[in-house]
Structures are given as structure tokens and as C-alpha cells.
Symmetry: C2
Subunit: 319 residues, 2 copies
């Protein structure tokens, strides 16, 4: 039984597996934002999730899916932040080692979070090649299992559980939308929506400065992200292979947004809802602000992916 | 039946009166903060309240308590912000005029909120004398009823309902704590706690730079606040007469804190809980950080009073 052959069963199993260890996050609404955008929005608040991001779901599912024999030597990954913290927490919870490769450029907030969960951190240059090489070296040396940040069935099935809870809680959603970076959340969200609310449109939202998913979606060919330029620091990576395949099969549209819209959406969430979301999490609301016609009058479920921001480097502060 | 003679009945009536119009705000917890402070905390999130602050409770109770004849000419108040927005919303909800006197120095966020609810704003100098004079002039001219920001039984009974909900939801609280400025929230919280959880200690938290409540409490004589100096911009006013009387009768202690502790507590709430609170709302947690011995090992209910901050002027930004 695989995610490809049995998505519903695989996602349901993931949900049962991780439920004791992650938060069932609240779904919030804002009349003020609804009035501004001319649609009805339900926000799934993964900023309140363990480690401050949906990534806890995929990491716990991957770690808890391992056999005892496979788990013993620990897990390893490379990540710009939230997946790293999530895997560190999941490994600590199971009592196995976690080896984390992080780019030197990751925010201090995220480095501190990973270290706080007791993981062993290896810093590398901020390129995919450098990250993969460092992770492979650790894998070879320790026997640890690689848990990729997004291009992995267990991770995708875990991320899908956020949309499962959102759809369970809000009947009749007409659109489900989330940000896309590597595509773990997007693939999971799309599979969950096709399963539980098949009539709903799935819309991915992406920074224009890191628009490989949009270029892949419109061309039908997976293209890599090179030199991304956006404040949405969780969405810099290239779409994964599995993630691309699910996107082409199950996603209805990909909308891109400017950084200015992302900042506007982020401030709107902070001021109207009094909750903290990171720039990446504001990308779907930015898509509503930039492309209102795609959402007008609809019942929209939106995944707020995370809330880990460096309060000393907010995007509207003078640099 | 008055608040003085029948506090329980008066507060219960206020709660029934305002419940259809205000949010029953959530009570949140944070294992991380509990671990840091060595106590168990329950946060009553009035930052999620209508207008972003507990002030909606008192304002709605005051406006809804008026007879139709008294209400017709509208209501007037002077306020540095949250009470103004709350009264404007309550008046708009009842369909009567609201006249708001605000100091020119109020934050842009708060000015915009008041204007957004359709109130007529009169700006004045940032002194109590100037505010009272401007409000009296409007009262004489329009016949509007004065709704004071805190020194008023209907307002105090309304503010008390936050603690009512907190105590209903969390059995066995040993301490209930809130910030003190004019004392509307403190008096309401103290009366509600004496009624529903009489064994609990009521602790007021106050900025050292605006410590008139502490000086009044320790001397037994109500002293006015002159030239306050604190980032907790909701707590600059002097304790009211009714508020002082309730404090002397029902409050167990007043603890003062530095602005540095307030900023530390505010950042701790933002980063650990992913929610936005204003500096005034962080004052009770600052008291836990500065005076841990007063709370060690206890079950503590804490009212997070509001979440209206100017994102362009956060206290840790360079000025």
C-alpha cells in the first residue's frame, strides 16, 4: 500500500500515527479580511503547530513509520529550517539521533530551535548540492536514514493531514490553497482535497521570485529553481519529483505573487487576527489580494504554514 | 442592585448582556513558558477580543445598559485608544452616535480603528485635564452620556467578565493576575475572582514607570500618576476612585516591572505562542519574570489585555 496506489488509506494511517504527537491546530476566521477580499476564508493555523510549522506532521510521520531496526541509527536531513526543527523534535521524541545539515544563512531563530531539540548540526553552503553532499556523507558515516524535507511519500502523507483536519472542520470548501516551495505541503494538500472534497479547486501560491512551480506547471516540465529572490524564506527550494507529479495530477492552478503583496498579506494577518505568521505562510493570502477574481465569493480553506520569524529582521523594518 | 452591593449579580448580568456581542476568547497555554517560569499559566486571550482588547466588554456593557431615552443622544469618552475603539464599536452596534476625545499622541493604529467604526473624533493635548475638558464640552453641546474609560461601575462589571470566563474554564486557579492602568480591568478581575475563586490571590502588575497603583496600594492613599514613562502605552493613566477602592478591598499585591522586562515578556509571548500582544498585555508575564517567587509552582490565570500594536514602531526596533 503506497501513497501512489492508496492515497486515502496512506494519509488516514499517517493521521492516526501522528495525532498523539502533534497539535490539532485551530481553524480561525476574520470578518475583516473576508470583507476586504470578498470571499469567506478559513485559516488552518499551522503557525501554532509543534515547532511552529506544519513540518512537524511530515517529520513525525516519517520517523514513526521507521521500523525499530531502521530507526536505531537515527535520521539525517538537510533543511533551511522548519523541517530541520521538526525532524529534530520527532527524533528526540522517539529517542533516536538526528543529524541536521543547515545552510549557514538560515535564520538564528531556526538554528536555535534545531539546537534546542538536541540535534547534531552540520553547517554548509546555501546550495542544494552542498546540502545533499553533506547529508550523504553523514548517512554513509552513521547509517542514519535520510528523511528528505519534501520529496518523500511519508513526509507528503504527513503534511496532508493539515488539509484533512481543515476539510473535516469546514464543510463545503470550494477552494483549498497553500504555499508551494519544495511541494510537500502542496502535494499533501492536493491529495487530501481530491480524497475528501473532490469538487474543490486546489490552488498553489508561490512567490514570483521563486516561481519554479509556476514555470513547471505551465510548461509541464519540472524546472529547477535557480537564484531565488524573495522574502518567503521557506519557499526557496525547487519542487521535488514526487511533488511535481502530484501537482500535475491534482492541482488546478498556481498563482504567483510579489514580495510587496506578501508583506501586505503578512501585516494584514498580524494586525487583523493578532497571530504571527512567517512570510511564506502569507503567500496564499497575497494570492487572494493579487488575484481576487480567482477567489471571489468562494469558500476558501487556507493553510497558514508557519510562524517562525526573526523579530529583529521583520520585512518592513529598515535594514 | 449595584456593583458595590451585589457584585456577583451585577457581573453576571453584564456577562449575559454582552455575550451576544463580544467574543468568548480562547484560553491558551505554553509548555515552553511554563518551563521557563516554573509555574502553570493560563492565558486569557483578550488580544483576540473585538477591537483587539478587553475594553470591548466594558464599553458594550455600558452602552447596552443605557435606557433608550438616555442612549439616543449618543455617548462620549476620552481615551488613549482601546476604550475609544470599543465605545465606537458598541455605539455603532446600537446605532447611536459616539464622540471620542483622543490625545494627539495616540498611535496611528488606534486613531484609524476609532475612525473606522464611524465615531466623531476630537483631538486634544495628552493631559487628563485637556481630555476631561473636551469631553465635558461635547457632553454639554450634544447631551451625549459620558462613558468613562475605567472609573465607572458598568465598565468595571463588563471588564470583570474576562476573569469570569477564565475562572469558569480553568478550575483551581491559585493566582489571577492582570495589568493595571486606570484599574477597570483590575477592579473587574478582583471582584470576579473574589466571587468565583475566593481563595485565589489577585496580583496586579504595573510598569515601574507608571507606578501610581503600587504607590497607592502601599500607602493606602490614592496618588495620581504624573509624567508616566513606559512603553506600556495602555497603562499611563491614574487609577480611578472606584478602582482604587476595589483594589484596597480585594487585591493581594501589586508588583512593578521595568520596561526591559516588559519587552522580554512581549517577545516571549510572540515567539513561543505565535500571538500578538501589546506591551501593556505583557506586563503580568514580566511580573512573573521579575518576581518568580510570587508565582513559583502555582496555577496562574493571566489576562492578556490586548493586541493593538503599531508594527512600524515595535519596542525592539531602532528608533
Amino acid at each position: 500500500m503506497t501513497l501512489r496506489s492508496h492515497p486515502a488509506e496512506t494519509i488516514a494511517a499517517a493521521h492516526a500515527r501522528i495525532a498523539p504527537f502533534v497539535h490539532r491546530t485551530p481553524v480561525l476566521t476574520s470578518r475583516r479580511i473576508d470583507g476586504m477580499v470578498g470571499a469567506r476564508l478559513w485559516f488552518k493555523c499551522e503557525n501554532f503547530q509543534k515547532v511552529g510549522a506544519f513540518k512537524a506532521r511530515g517529520a513525525f510521520n516519517a520517523v514513526l513509520s521507521l521500523s525499530d531496526a531502521d530507526a536505531r541509527a537515527g535520521v539525517v536531513t538537510h533543511s533551511s529550517g522548519n523541517h530541520a526543527a521538526a525532524l529534530a523534535l520527532a527524533a528526540a521524541t522517539r529517542g533516536i539521533p538526528a543529524y541536521i545539515v543547515m545552510p549557514r544563512t538560515a535564520s538564528e531563530t531556526k538554528k536555535a530551535a534545531v539546537a534546542g531539540y538536541g540535534a547534531e548540526i552540520t553547517f554548509c553552503e546555501p546550495t542544494l548540492a552542498a546540502r545533499e553532499a553533506a547529508a550523504a556523507e553523514i548517512q554513509a558515516r552513521t547509517g542514519a536514514r535520510l528523511v528528505p524535507p519534501y520529496d518523500d511519500d511519508a513526509v507528503i502523507a504527513g503534511q496532508a493531514t493539515a488539509a484533512v483536519e481543515l476539510i473535516e472542520e469546514v464543510p463545503g470548501l470550494e477552494i483549498v490553497t497553500c504555499p508551494v516551495g519544495g511541494g510537500g505541503l502542496l502535494a499533501g494538500t492536493a491529495l487530501a482535497t481530491r480524497w475528501l472534497e473532490p469538487g474543490a479547486r486546489v490552488i498553489a501560491a508561490e512567490p514570483a521570485g521563486a516561481d519554479d512551480a509556476w514555470r513547471s506547471f505551465t510548461s509541464g516540465v519540472r524546472v529547477a529553481q535557480t537564484s531565488p529572490d524573495t522574502i518567503a524564506d521557506g519557499l526557496l527550494t525547487s519542487l521535488g519529483i514526487r511533488n511535481f507529479a502530484v501537482m500535475m495530477a491534482c492541482v488546478d492552478d498556481v498563482l504567483t505573487v510579489t514580495d510587496a503583496s506578501i508583506i501586505e498579506a503578512m501585516r494584514l494577518i498580524w494586525t487583523s487576527m493578532k497571530i504571527i505568521v512567517e512570510p511564506s505562510a502569507a503567500v496564499p493570502l497575497a494570492a487572494l489580494l493579487e488575484h481576487p477574481e480567482a477567489f471571489a465569493g468562494r469558500r476558501v480553506g487556507m493553510i497558514l504554514s508557519g510562524g517562525n520569524v526573526d523579530l529583529d529582521r521583520l520585512p518592513w523594518m529598515a535594514q
